[in-house]
């Protein structure tokens, strides 16, 4: 069992915990939710383990043991169900790296109380279906990528990779609702996902690629030209 949401082994998770002090093992008697910045000890009152409950994740009913009532869905997914795709960074809904679908609705897993989504269908990046293909089983060691994941790789939308699963879930959600979004629609739909590496241009290009691929699969001729935001020359480039 991981000792806290910050021990998940991704580079982005260490920053705040490292600067904020010690992380407190979940198993320690004094700890409750291990909040950002190592302030876990402050939540001792929420620390008692609750009766096991069931969550339906990626179509499978999963028993959640050893959870605390104050556990977020993100914490339960990562540290109790072994699904590390949703990433833990800000724990305040700012960064979108924990994006998942609850009953088909895009949300931040860090802002969902896990026990309150019993009975809902939770979909994580591990459970996304490639368009028209087999279920992705990347988390289980498989190598089947969704079309969005493949486009992110091919367009150079992945650098450190920390934000990628959140973007992938958000892009799948967008294209399921709006198959051919305009450039501003894409930007608005992804405004809740932060990337500090790519400057977003390549992520937007990945979305464009998926739209083109899906529409050509659908029998229409995909546009091969540059995306409108590229043609306009207005693409902001990040300096991070």
């Amino acid at each position: 069992m991981a000792s806290s949401p910050h021990d998940a082994g991704s580079p982005g998770t260490t920053t705040r915990a490292g600067s904020g002090g010690a992380t407190v093992p979940v198993g320690a008697a004094s700890s409750g939710v291990a909040g950002p910045g190592g302030r876990a000890g402050a939540t001792a009152g929420s620390g008692e383990v609750v009766t096991p409950y069931e969550l339906v994740v990626n179509g499978v009913a999963r028993r959640v043991d050893g959870a605390r009532a104050s556990d977020s869905l993100l914490h339960v997914l990562r540290d109790r169900l072994g699904l590390p795709g949703a990433k833990n960074a800000c724990e305040q809904g700012e960064c979108g790296s924990c994006s998942v679908l609850v009953d088909g609705v895009l949300v931040c897993a860090c802002l969902e109380l896990a026990e309150a989504v019993t009975g809902c269908a939770v979909t994580t990046v591990e459970g996304l279906e490639p368009a028209g293909g087999e279920p992705s089983d990347a988390a289980l060691g498989g190598d089947v990528l969704t079309d969005v994941q493949r486009a992110m790789v091919e367009a150079g939308g992945v650098q450190c990779g920390f934000c990628t699963p959140g973007f992938v879930v958000a892009i799948h959600d967008l294209l399921a609702r709006v198959p051919e979004p305009g450039p501003f629609e894409v930007r608005e739909a992804l405004a809740g996902n932060l990337c500090r590496c790519t400057g977003y241009g390549r992520i937007l290009a990945a979305v464009e690629q998926v739209v083109a691929e899906r529409s050509s699969v659908g029998g229409e001729t995909a546009s091969g030209g540059p995306a409108p935001w590229q043609a306009a020359g207005s693409e902001p480039r990040g300096s991070a």
Partner: protein, 310 residues
């Protein structure tokens, strides 16, 4: 800590009656941040997720809008407390309540708008709550329920201070009733970007040509949304109600100056009081200039595109 998730309002109210200290969880976009950061340790939580009746909205004949006559062909939109920002900015509600749709569209991100609710915005009562000036400008009323009965309060009676409301122990916000403006309604906001931003200042303005009223409410520049009824009455005298002449620039400028003077901003990490005072004056001036003449006929849809990047 235990988590309750009643499916019926009567069960929820009974649970609140048994334990008025129960922490109510709506969208969770405020509460869960405090829980995650160890700033709040709720004893017991009641999730509203399964209360389908709070998620619905409907249109009714106008009844008891804040300081208005009843009826007269007006319509009220009754928004269940669990109505999300995403629902508010959808096409149907955006046509009825464009300012509320504009405000909802500036809240957070798609993820936040999918979970955050109007009831949660009211219950949190943040001075920066984006829907609050809109509700005040519309003269909306909050519907409250407990096992002892129901009551309604005007939104500006409900909001009593920064993060303080008139919600009594054992009470739950069930809905907010918003009179549809026969005229125009707009919202604008200043922040550092178009998403994921808490307002430095915001402004809602509702012009009702049937009632011949102008109502303007400013947010993030005081403990609760700020109005200046004298400035509203002054400008209502000067509008070309029977025609379609635009507002004189000098009138709009004076209106903005009066609203700025009525604001009570503070310095904080997002902006200085001086900047906020200046900013709301600009927002109010522009809002008035845009509001008259109203686009098309009474009740005609207005754009839901967020205004201002000032």
């Amino acid at each position: 800590m235990t988590v309750l998730a009643p499916a019926r309002l009567t069960d929820a109210l009974a649970a609140l009656d048994r334990d008025p200290a129960l922490t109510v969880l709506a969208g969770g976009t405020d509460l869960m941040v405090e829980v995650n950061y160890g700033e709040r340790r709720p004893a017991d939580v009641m999730s509203l997720r399964r209360l389908a009746e709070l998620r619905r909205w409907r249109v009714e004949p106008g009844t008891d809008g804040d300081d208005r006559d009843a009826g007269g062909g007006r319509a009220d939109v009754v928004l269940g407390a669990g109505t999300t920002y995403t629902t508010l900015l959808g096409p149907e509600l955006a046509e009825l309540l464009p300012a509320l749709a504009q405000a909802a569209r500036t809240v957070g991100s798609p993820q936040i708008r999918n979970t955050g609710t109007i009831g949660g915005n009211l219950a949190t009562g943040s001075p920066a709550g984006d829907t609050l000036p809109v509700l005040v400008a519309h003269g909306a009323r909050v519907e409250l329920a407990s096992v002892h009965g129901r009551r309604t309060l005007a939104v500006d009676e409900f909001l009593v201070g920064p993060k303080r409301t008139a919600l009594a122990p054992g009470e739950l916000i069930t809905a907010v009733r918003v009179p549809v403006a026969a005229g125009s309604a707009g919202f604008s906001k200043i922040g550092v970007r178009n998403a994921m931003v808490i307002a430095v200042a915001n402004c809602a303005l509702v012009v009702d040509r049937r009632l011949r009223t102008v109502r303007c409410a400013l947010g993030s520049v005081g403990p609760v949304p700020i109005r200046d009824p004298e400035a509203e009455a002054w400008v209502a005298e000067l509008l070309d109600w029977d025609g379609a002449s635009p507002v004189e620039p000098a009138v709009a400028g004076e209106f903005g100056a009066r609203l700025a003077a009525a604001s009570r901003p503070i310095d904080d990490h997002r902006a200085t009081a001086d900047y906020r005072r200046h900013a709301v004056g600009v927002l109010a001036r522009r809002a008035l200039a845009r509001a008259w003449p109203p686009p098309g006929d009474p009740g005609a849809p207005t754009s839901t595109v967020p205004t201002e990047a000032a």
